[in-house]
């Protein structure tokens, strides 16, 4: 018995040690480096116009990408579960999975090839004076692309689970299609939608690679929070880089909390443990 509990402690120490070195220590360094020189520089970093503008741009991207992909996600899940098309389901499914499998840099490249100066729509856009690449719309499009799968992938299994009995009852009793959706379907899937929205928001806040390619990186203009971290680090303004990182990390922790609140409710039958990680589930 002694050797059994001995090996138990060995395994525990190894697992926790690995996590401490890889996860906990690095993340606590963000806090340490942010407040290394006291609160003054932190306040300066937070009120720097470049930071404020980066925060604004990130919020704009999140504010457009999250509602757009939520509406799309619910609609697409409804179509795929309730009225699956006879042909082409595999194509729709692989397009939904693609943004997760793709390197974010490739996403940026793809947008440049379509909307850039020499891109497919480039000529028409230039003629009409519309700027997408190196400007806010490009950043928004990149964010929409990388966050597209989360809501739809979360809602599909929940819709399958709730079935159509209640909808049919409402329909038989004379409710309109819209009434059925708002009063029956949406409340039934709301936790799945909420979980998807949390994942979408987290990914949108943190997107870096795709945005880095299409932004053009004009400080104070086309820089998001993640790009601001990078830019501040490269001009050796450590406090600004770490302060912005801390803001993003706090948002990440908030996401974790929200995930742990919503996740158990989407799958009531599995109470004890997350069935799979967010990225993982969405990848299926």
């Amino acid at each position: 018995m002694r050797s059994a509990s001995g090996s138990r402690y060995t395994l525990r120490t190894m697992a926790l040690g690995y996590l401490a070195l890889l996860l906990v220590l690095p993340c606590s360094m963000i806090v340490y480096y942010t407040f290394k020189d006291g609160l003054g520089p932190v306040w300066e970093a937070l009120t720097d116009p470049a930071f404020v503008s980066a925060l604004r741009l990130t919020l704009i991207a999140v504010g457009i990408a999250v509602p757009a992909n939520t509406i799309f996600g619910v609609m697409c899940a409804m179509a795929l579960v309730r009225r699956p098309p006879k042909h082409g389901t595999w194509l729709i499914n692989s397009m939904i999975g693609l943004p997760l499998a793709l390197s974010p840099v490739v996403v940026g490249l793809a947008l440049i090839l379509v909307y850039g100066q020499n891109g497919w729509f480039g000529g028409w856009l230039t003629e009409n004076g519309i700027e997408i690449i190196f400007s806010t719309p490009g950043i928004v499009l990149a964010t929409i692309f990388v966050t597209l799968p989360f809501v739809v992938r979360e809602v599909i299994p929940v819709l399958r689970e709730v079935g159509t009995d209640q909808d049919e009852a409402a329909w038989t009793l004379g409710a309109s299609r819209a009434q059925t959706f708002w009063r029956i379907t949406l409340p039934a899937i709301r936790w799945g939608v909420a979980y998807g929205v949390v994942l979408t928001t987290a990914r949108a806040l943190g997107e870096y690679g795709a945005v880095a390619v299409v932004s053009g990186r004009l400080a104070g203009k086309t820089e998001t929070l993640t790009l601001h971290v990078d830019e501040a680090y490269l001009r050796l303004d450590e406090v600004a880089a770490y302060t912005t990182s801390l803001v993003l990390a706090l948002l990440a922790v908030l996401t974790l909390v929200a995930m742990n609140v919503f996740k158990p409710r989407t799958h009531k039958e599995v109470a004890d443990v997350d069935r799979s990680p967010p990225g993982h589930e969405a990848l299926r």
């Binding site: 525990r12 179509a79 309730r82 840099v105």
Partner: protein
């Protein structure tokens, strides 16, 4: 009623149509542009770009580093899942929750913090910055959740009677793990490993600060693509992108098959 049903069918068609249009505009057209651009100069131009020495070096590095990361993950991920399911200690639920942190934390922030711990100013005295080891560390960080979260549910549902039977027949714990538990976990481990590989191959944000991006040494495929775009060589960028695209699709397909097999196993 027939009129109502007809209207409802039309509305259903509209929902599907709008969804497909959105997908086409956001995903399909841009990806088609990448593929088209990579073959703009014909097959030989594509081949030249993909086999250029710097592209080959970047792809090779990415492939080898990802493979290494997957092997480490298979072991550490299973270990962590084991401790989270079979062990009990104070703060376990917190440890369970922070496993998802690499997913929630922006990759560039991950890169910056790893540089703080494993860079020139390392408090541990371990400086791997701008080396290939740094790439492995960054990839280990971002892929941490996959194997853990794949193995955890399977381990949780695993019937313990067989283990107890083995133990009562005098089997040593190591033998029981190797002969009884591991075969049951293997599909889940492989499926998590495949997902880790897919993520590692395309990773950019966490690698770009810590690797130094030295061509022929620490430049991974996604950084190579990034530099090609900046250097105004979109066709070259697109060619390497297509290689990554094919690779990620293959990995996703493998993960899907393994995932299904692992679910059948524990059913």
């Amino acid at each position: 009623m027939p009129a109502r049903a007809g209207r409802s069918r039309r509305a259903g068609g509209l929902v599907l149509g709008l969804s497909t249009a959105y997908l086409t505009l956001i995903v399909l057209i841009p990806i088609a542009a990448v593929v088209a651009s990579s073959f703009e100069g014909g097959l030989s131009a594509f081949w030249d770009e993909v086999t250029s020495p710097s592209a080959v070096a970047a792809l090779e590095l990415t492939f080898v580093a990802s493979l290494l990361v997957v092997l480490v993950n298979a072991v550490t991920g299973t270990l962590i899942a084991w401790v989270l399911v079979r062990d009990d200690f104070r703060g376990k639920s917190v440890v369970n929750a922070i496993i998802d942190l690499p997913f929630a934390l922006p990759t560039v922030v991950a890169g910056l913090t790893l540089l703080a711990v494993y860079g020139p100013k390392s408090p541990l005295g371990v400086d791997v910055a701008y080396s290939r080891a740094a790439i492995v560390v960054a990839l280990l960080f971002v892929t941490l959740p996959f194997v853990v979260r794949a193995v955890q549910p399977v381990l949780l549902e695993l019937d313990r009677e067989m283990e107890e039977a083995a133990a009562s027949l005098g089997s040593r714990p190591v033998t029981t793990f190797r002969r009884i538990i591991l075969p049951n976990l293997l599909p889940a481990i492989l499926s998590g490993a495949a997902l880790s590989f897919g993520k590692a191959v395309g990773e950019f944000g966490s690698v770009v600060l810590i690797s130094g991006n030295i061509p022929f040494d620490t430049e991974v495929a996604s950084v190579h693509i990034f530099k090609s775009i900046e250097g105004d060589n979109p066709a070259g960028a697109a060619a390497v992108s297509v290689v990554l695209l094919v690779l990620s699709f293959a990995v996703l397909a493998v993960a899907d098959v393994l995932e299904r097999r692992s679910r059948r196993h524990d059913a």
